[in-house]
C-alpha cells in the first residue's frame, strides 16, 4: 500500500502561482498545436523542472556546451513538454518552437533528443537509462576534477526498470555526492496506480538502503524545492535522492490523478474551455 504522506496530501491541495500557471499554458498550447502530447507526466514535473532551471542549475543558455555547466537529464523523456517550455523560457531556443511540437520539421519531438534541442543533455524516451548516464557524467566530473553537478529526473513508473537500481548501486559504490536523482512520485503510471502496476513502497527506504541520502517533499512546493535542491549533496559522500510527491496532471482538475490524461490526442472544445478556467487563457 502507498503510505499516506503529508507531502502527498500537500501536493493535492497546494495552489499554483502565476509562473506555474504560465508554464502550464505553454505546455498545453503545444499540446493544442500538435494535437498530441504526454500531458499528465509534464504537469506533474513542472515545478521540479522550473526550480532546477530558474534557481539551481549553473547554466548559460548562450553557451549550452560550457564544460563547467551543471548537467540535467530528463530520464522520463515522455515528460519532455515540461523541459521544453523551461528551455524555451530560459532562452535556449525561441518560444515559437513550441508551436511546432512533434511536427515534421520541428526540433521538438515527443521525446527529447540530444543534438536536436539546445540544452538537452541526452536522448531519452526508453525508460531506465538516465541514471546510468548520470553516473557516468558524475564519475567523469570527479576524474576530470570538474565541479559540475548532475541531476537526473526519473518517473515513478520508470523506476520499475531494474537498470535504475543497478545504477543506484553504482552511484553509491562510487560515493557520487555530485549526483542527484529526483523522483517524480505522482503514483500513477500509464495503466493505473503504481501500487497496482508494481508497488514501490517503501520507496524512501529503498533508496536509503541503496546508499542514497533521501529527502521527501511536496513536488509542487516551489519554496521547498528551492531549499532542498540548493542543499545538495544532502549528505557529503553520498548520492542524493529527492522523492517529490506530486499529482499527475497537476493544475487541471479533469486531468489530476486521471490515467486517461497520461497521453492526450486532440483536445476537445469543452476540454479547452476547462483548461482556460484552470490555468488562464492561452
Amino acid at each position: 500500500m502507498i503510505q499516506i504522506s503529508p507531502h502527498a496530501e500537500a501536493a493535492l491541495t497546494c495552489t499554483l502561482d502565476e509562473r506555474s500557471l504560465y508554464l502550464r499554458r505553454l505546455v498545453l498550447g503545444s499540446v493544442r498545436s500538435a494535437g498530441r502530447g504526454h500531458v499528465g507526466p509534464a504537469l506533474s514535473l513542472i515545478e521540479m523542472v522550473r526550480v532546477l532551471y530558474d534557481d539551481v542549475l549553473r547554466i548559460d543558455p548562450t553557451n549550452p556546451r560550457d564544460p563547467n555547466r551543471d548537467r540535467a537529464i530528463l530520464s522520463k523523456g515522455h515528460g519532455c513538454l515540461a523541459l521544453y517550455v523551461l528551455l524555451a523560457d530560459r532562452g535556449f531556443f525561441p518560444l515559437s518552437e513550441l508551436d511546432g511540437f512533434c511536427g515534421p520539421d520541428s526540433i521538438l519531438g515527443g521525446h527529447p533528443e540530444y543534438g536536436m534541442v539546445p540544452g538537452v543533455e541526452a536522448s531519452t524516451g526508453a525508460l531506465g537509462h538516465g541514471l546510468s548516464i548520470g553516473v557516468g557524467l558524475a564519475l567523469a566530473a570527479r576524474m576530470r576534477e570538474r565541479s559540475y553537478r548532475t541531476f537526473v529526473l526519473l518517473g515513478d513508473g520508470e523506476i520499475n526498470e531494474g537498470s535504475v537500481w543497478e545504477a543506484a548501486m553504482g552511484a553509491a559504490k562510487h560515493g557520487l555526492d555530485n549526483l542527484v536523482a529526483i523522483i517524480d512520485y505522482n503514483k500513477l503510471q500509464s495503466y493505473g496506480p503504481t501500487d497496482y502496476v508494481l508497488p514501490l513502497e517503501p520507496l524512501a527506504d529503498k533508496w536509503r538502503s541503496f546508499g542514497f541520502a533521501v529527502q521527501e517533499l511536496n513536488g509542487h512546493d516551489v519554496g521547498a524545492l528551492r531549499t532542498v535542491l540548493k542543499q545538495v549533496p544532502a549528505v557529503p559522500g553520498k548520492p542524493t535522492a529527492i522523492i517529490c510527491h506530486t499529482v499527475k496532471g497537476k493544475g487541471l482538475p479533469a486531468a489530476e490523478s486521471n490515467a486517461d490524461w497520461h497521453h492526450k490526442n486532440k483536445l476537445t472544445d469543452s476540454e479547452l474551455d476547462a483548461i482556460r478556467v484552470a490555468v488562464g487563457d492561452f
Binding site: 540530444y114 543534438g115 543533455e121 541526452a122 536522448s123 524516451g125 526508453a126 531506465g128 537509462h129 538516465g130 541514471l131 546510468s132 548516464i133 548520470g134 553516473v135 557516468g136 557524467l137 558524475a138 564519475l139 567523469a140 566530473a141 576524474m143 576530470r144 531494474g162 537498470s163 543497478e166 545504477a167 548501486m169 553504482g170 559504490k173
Partner: protein, 319 residues
C-alpha cells in the same frame, strides 16, 4: 587473442589518459597490472551490463574513452537497448570488447554462445563491427581504436588461435585484406574462419581449384570496393562465418553485391551455423565441424557449389 586485446587496453591507457577499462565481473586478475598502475581507470562495476553501458555513455560524453569488457552474449543480448540508444544514437566512442564470440564457450551452452551478435550489432546505425582473426591482428586492431569516431563492437575469439595474419598486412578499420589472390572461387571470411579458409584453400588447390581469400575483419562498415575488386573473374563467392545465417557476414556480402551489381550477381555459397541454438557442447572445433565449418567440409561444399554453378544456369524460380 583475448589476453592480447586486454593487454592492449593497458598499453593504450599508458599512452592516452582518456582510456578506461570497465569490466562487469571478469575473471580474477583481469588486467591486474593496469589496476595497479592506473587504479582510477580500471573499473569493475558488477554484473549490471545495462547500467555499465549507460554509465560508459556518460563517461564518453565527457571525453573519456571506455573499453567495456565482458562475455559477448551479455554485452549484446542483455543490454541491447542501452547499446542502441545510449551508444549508437548518441554516436559515442565506447569500445565493446566481447569475449567468446561465436562458439568459444561451446561447453557452457547456448546462453554463452554468441551466434547472432554480428547481426544485431551490425543492424544498429553508427555501430562498427570488427572480428579479428588472431592475437597479432587483435593488437594491430586495438591500435586503431583510439581515434575512431563512434562505438565499436569487437568480437574476440579464444586464446591460442593460430597466427595467420602478418604485420605487412597492416590493419585499417573498414579495409578488408586480400589474404590470397582470387582464383576460381573467392572465400570471404571474418574472425577465426580465416584459419579454416587457408586450410580449405590448400585442400582445394590439391584438387586443382584455385581459391582466393578476402578477410573481412570489419563487417561494418563493409569494404565494398575491396569485395567488388576481389570477385572479378571468380565463378563462386563463398562466405564463411561462425554465426547464424541471418544478418551476419554472408548477409552483408549478399546485400552489398545486390546493391552494387543488381542483375549480374555471381554464384554464391553461404556457409554458416544453422538457424538454431546449439544444444551440443564439446568444443568450438567440434561444433564447427558438426555444422560443416571444418576445412574439409568447407572445401567439399565449395567443390559441390562450383560443380553446380557450371552445370546449371541461374533460375529465378527453380522447380
Amino acid at each position: 587473442m583475448r589476453n592480447t586485446a586486454m593487454n592492449m587496453v593497458h598499453k593504450l591507457a599508458a599512452r592516452d589518459e582518456r582510456v578506461l577499462y570497465i569490466g562487469s565481473d571478469p575473471g580474477a586478475g583481469t588486467l591486474r597490472a593496469m589496476s595497479k598502475e592506473f587504479p582510477k581507470r580500471h573499473l569493475i562495476e558488477g554484473i549490471s551490463e545495462a547500467h555499465i553501458i549507460g554509465m560508459s555513455a556518460g563517461l564518453a560524453m565527457e571525453g573519456l574513452l571506455p573499453y567495456v569488457n565482458t562475455i559477448a552474449t551479455f554485452l549484446t543480448r542483455r543490454c541491447y537497448e542501452q547499446v542502441a540508444v545510449d551508444l549508437c544514437l548518441h554516436n559515442l566512442p565506447v569500445r565493446l570488447i566481447a569475449n567468446g564470440g561465436g562458439l568459444v564457450y561451446a561447453p557452457l551452452g547456448p546462453t554463452h554462445q554468441a551466434i547472432e551478435d554480428i547481426a544485431i550489432m551490425r543492424a544498429l546505425p553508427n555501430m562498427t563491427v570488427i572480428c579479428p582473426c588472431d592475437a597479432d591482428e587483435a593488437a594491430r586492431m586495438m591500435e586503431q581504436t583510439l581515434d575512431w569516431k563512434g562505438p565499436i563492437y569487437i568480437r574476440l575469439g579464444k586464446g591460442g588461435d593460430a597466427i595467420v595474419s602478418k604485420a605487412e598486412h597492416g590493419f585499417e578499420i573498414g579495409k578488408a585484406i586480400l589474404m590470397r589472390p582470387q582464383g576460381d572461387v573467392l572465400m570471404v571470411t571474418t574472425g577465426i574462419m580465416l584459419q579454416r579458409a587457408f586450410a580449405a584453400a590448400d585442400l582445394l588447390a590439391a584438387q586443382g581449384v584455385r581459391a582466393g581469400i578476402l578477410h573481412m575483419h570489419t563487417v561494418k562498415p563493409l569494404d565494398t570496393a575491396a569485395l567488388l575488386h576481389a570477385i572479378r573473374g571468380v565463378k563462386l563467392v563463398a562466405t564463411l562465418e561462425e554465426h547464424v545465417p541471418s544478418g551476419g557476414l554472408g548477409s552483408a556480402i549478399a546485400e552489398a553485391l545486390i546493391d552494387k551489381l543488381g542483375a549480374g550477381l555471381p554464384a554464391m555459397l553461404r556457409l554458416s551455423l544453422p538457424d538454431r541454438f546449439m544444444h551440443n557442447y564439446g568444443s568450438q572445433d567440434s561444433l564447427l565441424k558438426k555444422h560443416g565449418l571444418s576445412a574439409d567440409a568447407i572445401a567439399t561444399s565449395i567443390e559441390h557449389a562450383l560443380a553446380a554453378s557450371r552445370t546449371s544456369a541461374p533460375q529465378l524460380h527453380p522447380t
